[in-house]
């Protein structure tokens, strides 16, 4: 494996903000990551056309907790509300970035959220998202934007949910695939930046393969001053992953999205069920 080729330099981090608590957690995580890796933070707020169109419908009513009576919506009211949200997001970004001495920029665009975010992702090396923007759903379920991003984002995606931040150690799932190598490279960088251990979860059905993969990783990591631990997973399903994360007290999980036997559904399930931030790497 060529080290040069697998180098996953993260210089620009796009963070999609909608002022929800999940997106604020995403902002925190992105800012911290940017500070550690000396990257730049790009804030993006999308004024959702769907919402604006909705507001123009004659029967449009918004219901928000704890008010049990809906309020009549109209376009200008909605535009103003979106401006307020955008300003909130900008301010949150500015405050966080300033605290951590990170370079930042912020812009507002109008359009369909998913496509705007995915388009903007092209300018960055990493896309950070809140897992969902829903505030009333108690169980974290991937939002539509997050789902789309997993499936189609041209860049690695970092998904963060409300109430958590990136911690050590860094967990990387490794199955020898290209995206896994990429994940390992990023994981190693992060572990180094965060100054703590790396745990490599070797994914292999039989132990011989596991041993081989472990040797591969060891060789690749040689020369890096990292505390590396290895765990063997014989299958990659949500349940066993959650368990491993709990026992390892994992701070972040890095996953190659094109790992041999990972379907999109499995990835979604994993993402929904685990609490720690997840970085999804596509090759």
């Amino acid at each position: 494996m060529n080290k040069q080729e697998s180098k996953a330099a993260i210089r620009r981090i796009l963070v999609a903000l909608d002022a929800s608590s999940h997106s604020l957690a995403a902002l925190e995580a992105a800012a911290e990551l940017a500070a550690r890796m000396e990257a730049e933070l790009l804030g993006l707020f999308v004024e959702d056309i769907n919402i604006l169109q909705l507001a123009e419908l004659p029967f449009a009513q918004g219901v928000s907790y704890p008010f049990t009576v809906g309020q009549q919506l109209d376009k200008s009211k909605m535009e103003r509300a979106l401006k307020v949200k955008a300003e909130q997001a900008r301010r949150a970004l500015a405050t966080t970035a300033k605290q951590l001495h990170v370079r930042w920029s912020f812009r507002t665009v109008r359009g369909y959220i998913t496509s705007e975010v995915l388009e903007a992702a092209l300018e960055a090396d990493l896309l950070t998202l809140g897992k969902s923007s829903r505030q009333l759903a108690r169980r974290v379920e991937l939002g539509s934007t997050a789902r789309e991003a997993i499936a189609r984002a041209p860049r690695p995606v970092l998904l963060v949910q409300h109430g958590v931040s990136i911690k050590q150690p860094v967990l990387v799932v490794y199955d020898g695939s290209e995206s896994a190598k990429q994940a390992l490279a990023t994981g190693a960088d992060m572990a180094q930046a965060y100054g703590d251990g790396l745990v490599v979860l070797i994914l292999a059905e039989i132990s011989d393969v596991a041993q081989r993969l472990e040797n591969e990783v060891t060789a690749w990591l040689q020369g890096r001053k990292l505390q590396v631990g290895y765990r063997w997973l014989d299958k990659l399903d949500a349940q066993s992953l959650i368990q491993t994360i709990q026992t390892e007290r994992g701070g972040i999980l890095i996953l190659g999205s094109e790992s041999s036997d990972l379907s999109l559904e499995t990835i979604q399930e994993i993402l929904e069920k685990i609490n720690c931030p997840v970085l999804l790497i596509r090759h």
Partner: protein, 806 residues
């Protein structure tokens, strides 16, 4: 004629040879109270009887050192009595402003406090451990999961329903809203308008229905949240009850014989279970008030203040019942106080700030108080009576009582009171209280009246010697020789002015011993001898002697006129006592009487100018009545007589000069001179009997000092009432002069005896015909009075005649 007294009657000395000891070091300590049989009986009775209201009032002057005596007595008695209970205040978890009082066997209070402290300490590690346990976390997650599921399910179903109708639920900054969708996009208004009207109607009505459902769900959320909170609370409660339970069970077992403690422990367990979060918080997470951290008082470790045990009475080191003397009996020092702590400008308090008073400490035993101090402290007396009546210590702060301050305060549960209060006070206070405070006699039924003096008998002399020995040892003084003891005993008799009594003024005796010890030290004596005692007495007198010396000097210099030889009509030497508190001395005064024709008035000049007191006036009225009823009864008393204390400017009180005044009057009436070498003291009654007076020793010595300074002639002397002979304890030089025949003390029983000594002429008694013998004093007086009466009648008749002529 009456004979002068024998010298041995003038001074009753104490024979050192009656004692078998050499020095007081040989004597045993005296443990009983001497000479106070009545008081001791009263104390025994008062401390023995258990009924309500039998508190003690100890009467006695401060000089009897009664406080020390009573205290010693009570301590001896208290040691044999059971040690009373300990008392603690603990939190009342249901009504924190009414702390509970707990009664515990002696010494158990601090043990309970330690046990509860330890329990809380253990719980601070146990409870977090319980909450971190796998078991608890799982159970909690299950509950939370259930809630999440319920909510998610509701939303999902709604979303699904919407989706089936081509409608999406969108999150907007202005809340959740439904919108018709076409391929992931919301229909814009134009598209919507292009739809057939029926379709538009359908969408609108469906959106309205969905909206209704959404609102329903939102309405239910608070209820679900409440349910989950309740469930988690119940879980916490259950888990903590279990965790705390086995720790508290140990304590419950330990205190099983004390049901009150057990019920406290139960309440404690409940409260801990209800407030388990407190045990999970770190100190910095304690609630703060507008960003200002609360003072240490209620934060950090002190958040567990409510689980503390405030031991207000601790008898862990006590033996027997307590004997407490409260030197500063303010209301709060007696009843106890509830302190406050200032927090953010307000005053707060809790049961930990309840401080005990003297009554708490003395509960089950004895409380000694100085009556005067109690009465001079505002509200202290009322407060004391209130608790004694109620037999409960009910704490109310003065501020509360008077409605002066309004702040958070407590109403601690009253503590039953069983205490003997021993009030110490003087006679006056006792009688004032009896008269003016109706409750006083209800609450202080036992009076302990200390004698000021005791009989001077052989046994008592020995007891006195032992008392002296005990005092010297207690004070760390040199022992006394037996001659010194004898001298102290003699002086003790002199202090009370009675040859047959001894003083029980322990303080004065102690002072004398201390001073004798000092002089012995000065003289290099290892043992105090009679000379040292005498020196101490002389020095005591010398220190306070200035005024006496000045008066003596003025008499010698002739500024104050006193004759000590020759004879004068209507003039006599009276004797008065000047009392300077610690020291009294006699002072001769010249008394003169003048008579003339008048309407039967005897004028007391002292009274006319208000220099004479009521008793003095009484004496003068008695002698005028004596005159009018003894002589010429059938004639009107027709004289005008005036009596005066010459050169007296400070007022005269007492009737001890009434016999002298009578002698002067008789002399003036009979025109017979009185021997100025004699001085007189004694009061007189209507029958002419001479009665006892006070300060006889000082009076004799006062006249003796003048005569001695002018040179004793052998004719000089003093007339005293015969009933005062037993009080004589005269100075050595007076006794010596008497023995040498140079000074005479005449004991007189009647005026007739006295006038005979003073004039050298017999008084004379009426014969069978009712006449006095010719030439006798009485005959002369009567003749003069008759002459005056006749002259007056004659004058009256001539005045009448003149009137008739007109």
């Amino acid at each position: 004629m009456i004979k002068p007294l024998n010298p041995k009657d003038l001074y009753r000395s104490c024979d050192p040879n009656q004692f078998t000891f050499e020095t007081t070091a040989d004597l045993e300590d005296l443990t009983e109270i001497i000479g106070q049989a009545r008081a001791v009986e009263a104390i025994h009775f008062g401390t023995g009887i258990q009924q309500e209201g039998y508190n003690l009032f100890v009467i006695g002057s401060p000089e009897t050192a009664k406080q020390a005596v009573i205290r010693q007595f009570l301590k001896r008695k208290a040691v044999t009595e059971p040690t009373p209970s300990d008392w603690c205040y603990v939190n009342n978890f249901s009504q924190p402003h009414k702390p509970h009082a707990l009664r515990l066997p002696p010494g158990q209070g601090i043990i309970l406090r330690r046990d509860v402290e330890q329990l809380i300490e253990e719980l601070r590690t146990t409870i977090p451990a319980v909450f971190e346990s796998e078991n608890y976390r799982t159970r909690r997650q299950v509950i939370e999961e259930e809630f999440k599921e319920r909510q998610d399910k509701a939303f999902k179903e709604l979303e699904q329903q919407a989706k089936e109708r081509g409608i999406a639920l969108l999150q907007t900054p202005l809340g959740l809203a439904f919108a018709p969708m076409r391929r992931d996009r919301v229909l814009n208004p134009e598209e919507f308008q292009r739809l057939p009207e029926s379709e538009r109607k359908r969408i609108e009505s469906e959106v309205a229905a969905l909206q209704e459902q959404l609102q329903d769900i939102i309405r239910k959320i608070p209820q679900w949240e409440r349910e989950i909170r309740e469930k988690i609370k119940a879980l916490n409660h259950e888990v903590v009850m279990f965790a705390v339970g086995h720790l508290i069970d140990e304590l419950r077992k330990k205190y099983t014989v004390l049901p009150e403690v057990v019920s406290y422990l139960n309440a404690l367990q409940q409260d801990i279970s209800n407030n388990a979060e407190d045990f999970l918080r770190r100190p910095e997470e304690m609630p703060a008030f507008i960003n200002i951290p609360e003072s240490r008082f209620l934060t950090g470790a002190s958040a567990f203040r409510r689980y503390q045990v405030n031991v207000i009475v601790d008898h862990s080191t006590a033996q027997g019942a307590p004997v407490v003397y409260e030197d500063y009996p303010t209301y709060q020092n007696l009843i106890g106080r509830i302190e406050h702590i200032s927090q953010l400008g307000t005053l707060v308090t809790d049961f930990n700030l309840i401080k005990p008073g003297a009554l708490h400490r003395a509960n089950g035993g004895y409380l000694m108080l100085d009556a005067h101090k109690v009465l001079t402290q505002p509200f202290a007396w009322e407060g004391l009576k209130r608790v004694l009546r109620a037999r409960k210590i009910h704490m109310t702060s003065l501020g509360q009582m008077l409605d002066l301050i309004s702040t958070v305060s407590l109403e601690p549960e009253p503590i039953p009171l069983n205490v003997k209060v021993v009030l110490l006070g003087d006679q006056l206070l006792y009688y004032l209280l009896c008269q003016f405070d109706p409750e006083f006699n209800e609450l202080f039924k036992v009076v302990v009246d200390f004698e000021e003096r005791m009989d001077r008998t052989l046994e008592n002399n020995l007891l006195y010697a032992r008392l002296i020995g005990t005092l010297t040892r207690k004070e760390g003084l040199r022992p006394l020789e037996r001659s010194a003891v004898a001298r102290v005993i003699e002086h003790s008799a002199r202090i009370v002015g009675d040859a047959e009594k001894l003083s029980t003024h322990i303080r004065r005796i102690t002072d004398l011993l201390r001073e004798a010890n000092y002089w012995a030290g000065e003289a290099g004596h290892k043992i105090v001898n009679a000379f040292d005692v005498q020196r101490a007495i002389d020095a005591q007198i010398r220190r306070v002697d200035r005024i006496r010396e000045r008066i003596q000097e003025e008499i010698q210099r002739g500024t104050i006129l006193i004759d000590t030889d020759g004879e004068k009509i209507g003039q006599i030497n009276g004797l008065s006592v000047i009392d300077l508190g610690q020291f009294a001395f006699g002072r001769p005064s010249r008394i003169t009487a003048r008579v003339r024709l008048g309407k039967g008035e005897v004028i007391d000049i002292e009274r006319e100018v208000e220099l004479g007191g009521p008793i003095h006036s009484k004496g003068v009225l008695i002698l005028s009545s004596f005159l009018s009823t003894r002589y010429a009864i059938d004639k009107p008393l027709s004289l005008f007589a005036s009596l005066v204390f010459e050169q007296s400017y400070n007022g005269v009180e007492g009737d001890s000069a009434s016999s002298a005044e009578l002698y002067a009057l008789l002399s003036a009436l009979a025109e017979v001179p009185i021997r100025q070498s004699l001085a007189v003291t004694g009061s007189v009654n209507q029958h002419g009997q001479v009665q006892a007076i006070g300060g006889v020793n000082e009076k004799i010595e006062g006249f003796f000092d003048i005569c001695k300074a002018r040179g004793l002639t052998g004719k000089q002397g003093v007339l005293i009432p015969a009933s005062n002979v037993k009080h004589l304890m005269l100075r050595r030089d007076v006794v010596e002069a008497a023995a040498a025949g140079k000074f005479h003390i005449y004991p007189v029983e009647t005026v007739d005896e006295g006038i005979e000594i003073l004039t050298g002429i017999p008084a004379g008694e009426r014969d069978e015909t009712g006449n006095f013998p010719e030439g006798s004093i009485n005959q002369r007086v009567e003749a003069r009075l008759i002459a005056l009466a006749e002259k007056r009648m004659a004058l009256a008749a001539s005045a009448k005649g003149e009137n008739a002529h007109e």
